[in-house]
Amino acid sequence: MSRRPGFVLEVDKSTPPTLFWGGEGFTLETLPEGSRVIYAPEPITPIEDPYRAIRHALLHPEGDRDPLPALLRPGMKLTICFDDISLPLPPMEAPDVRQMVIETVLDMAAEAGVDDVMLIAALALHRRMTEAELRHALGDRVYDAFAPHGLLTQHDAEDPANLVFLGETEQGEEVEINKRAATSDLLVYVNINLVTMDGGHKSVATGLASYRSLRHHHNPQTMRHSKSFMDQPSSELHSSNWRMGRLIAAAGVQVFQIETTLNNETFPPNFSFLQKREWEWSLRDRATYAATSGALAKTPPRVARQIFHSIRSPHALTSVQAGEVEAVHALTTANVWAQQGVDVEGQTDIMTMGLPYICPYNVNSIMNPILVACLGLGYFFNMYRGKPVVREGGVVIMRHPTRPEFHPGHHPSYIDFYEQVLPLTTDPMRMHKEFEESFATDPWYIHLYRTGHAYHGVHPFYMWYWCAHALAHVGRVIVVGGDPKAVRRLGFSPASSLDDALEIASDVVGPSPTLTHVHNPPIFMSDVH
């Protein structure tokens, strides 16, 4: 059967109940008649021979770049940077795309006799990856060749000795990035572009930047004016990164960009029902759903979390392009849209979404309430081009248990943010002005970030800023099935069921609202007309 595009279903009497994620579990909800459900396109057929495709891309670069072998020579300083654990979601089955690309690059570097090669995980302010995570991303062959010799490092945004200031953009944005990367003869950046926001100049300008540099676009003003993050011409975050990227290029940093896109085959066959249309569920799908949801309901959250985080996604490579940053990214963006774009006519009063157990910042970790807000309002809300799915003043209903649980090793500053900042304000601007700096410069958080596996002290603020556009746009946010205290702490309204949530929403949108559900997995982008 040929691949079917995404589509918008109008719910009628014959429509079976619709799947909603809810953290480490899922349920079926009966949506009111007349509601709409947006379904993602089916997966693109992957590239049959990824290694061959990667090699071809490196030999036939886009834009004003020579083929990679022509850029490699003995005695040169080569740095290979790569996306961190936040991509893709869930982590993909081995071999990871990063491994395949980096192995191919290293083959060419070895052939050219390049001795000075260093690998850097482009963390920005994310947590450092563990050895197991690095091995999974890069493969044992790469890890064992570089890590024991100190040639596989992770970007440290708080190491003044290993940062270099490259200048200011015309908007006054300071650009400070990883010194080794900036001073190399060639910087090869290996991307996994899961959404259109990923890649481009953001790779280096954000992934290898310091707090001093990041604060110029990771702030409430920029986030509020990124409508959306995924729609590049309308994203202030994108514009800021582009200004910085062009400054980096002007400063003489030679970037050879490699971008890859994956299909949306998100879960292995055992969970394939999750991304099927409900009326097409087979007997096996229904049996799996009944058994899994029943078992998960009786499983302690900690165990359920471990089960879900052990899932490896069967994502497969659909395109790879290499060369000059902007030329590459234009192609990549088109390829991501080809997989994820869905046409949607008009906005809705109520947007519903089921939030899964994972977001970019809790891989192998806990999805705490701040990340719940970020996933729903920062990511799912922003997966649009044109206009948001929900109208201005509308209501967002999210389903997630939203337990006030935190990973103390990964998210230490989140705990204090939740306890000290959120009780006082949920206003991103006030947080930015009154609290951000103290968290960002706290020596204990910096120490944990640099030596442990902790997100930077300022990271929970960024997650909240990520919600800034949605918070300014919608009239109310309701969380179904969430811990009431935690939900209220976020400034949202708790509801025990979808019916209750719709009742609460009627205060804002009236008694006969329109409703649109974004059906995930897999993720998709709404092109709202």
Binding site: M1, L9, E10, V11, D12, K13, S14, T15, P16, P17, L28, E278, W279, E280, W281, L283, R286, Y289, A290
Partner: protein, 324 residues
């Protein structure tokens, strides 16, 4: 009240325990064709399926057939030295024809024979496809029009060493009289593969399992008893007559060969109440030209007269008349 409660309890389970309903606004795609002509029946000729079928055929079907339809079998000597594989071309009056014919075949044929079955009837559901593929080693054949795929499949199986049972009329006789043979069946396959065709006449099978009257065929205002006896098994003796193997001549086309096979079946039909010599004599008397005999198709008369002629008791049958 109790009945309603029971009905409620017995109501089909709701999704996800029950099957999902289909949204009205979503067009149903054509189901993936895995039935009918596209059904993959190769499994039914693998060793495990053949073994299981042989066990069922020899230990269940044959004893049951003897009890239900004691058979008089003639002409088995034609099969003793024939060069296999062969094509059995038989008249068709009942669904019971196939199992009864299979159970009368010698063992060396019985377990190496596939049956051409109507794709629109025996392969229109997955369960039916599985059942008939297993029970009869059936393969789907398009009967309403010429279909290259189904003919190719049958020819490939013959070339692969499988005997084939085919009913060249293309379906059961509506009234018991034989219908014209379809040239694109036994005649064509015999011509194409060069394999011998064995004419077969099955007598009396429509009494064992009569064809149910079509609802459309029942006249408005009828008594409602027209199909009273249809579709039920009844014990009744049968006769199975095998003719001499026939091969297509080099200059003979499929249509002419098909006519010749049909004539051979007609000759066999006359043997039921006489013998080979009487049948040959009566045939020559009626029609000296082979293939021109149409007596087995019944009189060109009203339906009751055709039925009357068909069901005439054997004691009243003249040796020049057929069938009974």
């Amino acid at each position: 009240m109790a009945g309603a409660g029971l009905r409620n309890r017995l109501r089909a389970p709701r999704f996800p325990l029950g099957a999902p309903s289909w949204p009205t606004s979503v067009p149903r795609p054509d189901p993936e064709r895995k039935i009918g002509l596209d059904y993959d029946h190769a499994w039914s000729r693998k060793y495990p399926a053949r073994l299981a079928r042989a066990v069922v055929l020899d230990n269940v079907a044959r004893p049951a057939a003897r009890l239900l339809a004691p058979a008089t079998v003639r002409g088995l000597e034609h099969l003793q030295h024939v060069d296999t594989p062969v094509i059995f071309a038989a008249n068709h009056a009942s669904h019971i024809d196939t199992p009864l014919l299979l159970t009368t075949l010698p063992v060396e044929f019985r377990h190496r024979t596939v049956v051409a079955a109507a794709s629109d009837y025996f392969f229109d559901r997955t369960w039916k496809s599985v059942l008939w593929s297993f029970a009869l080693a059936a393969i789907p054949i398009e009967r309403s029009r010429v279909n290259r795929k189904s003919i190719d499949t049958a020819a490939e199986l013959i070339e692969d060493g499988w005997n084939l049972v085919i009913f060249p009329e293309g379906g059961r006789s509506p009234d018991g009289w034989t219908q014209p043979f379809h040239p694109a069946s036994a005649g064509y396959l015999g011509k194409r593969t060069g394999r011998p065709v064995i004419p077969v006449f099955l007598h009396g099978t429509r009494h064992v399992l009569p064809k149910t009257a079509d609802a459309d065929a029942i006249a408005p205002g009828g008594s409602g008893t027209e199909a009273r006896h249809g579709g039920r098994l009844r014990r009744s003796p049968i006769a199975v007559l095998f003719g001499a193997p026939m091969t297509a001549d080099e200059d003979e086309n499929a249509r002419r060969f098909s006519d010749r096979v049909e004539a051979a079946v007609a000759t066999l039909s006359r043997e039921v109440h006489s013998d080979w010599w009487q049948a040959r004599r009566s045939l020559s008397a009626v029609s000296p030209t082979p293939g021109a005999d149409t007596a087995h198709r019944g009189p060109a008369a009203s339906s009751w007269r055709r039925a009357w002629a068909l069901d005439e008791p054997p004691s009243r049958v003249h040796d020049t008349e057929w069938p009974n």
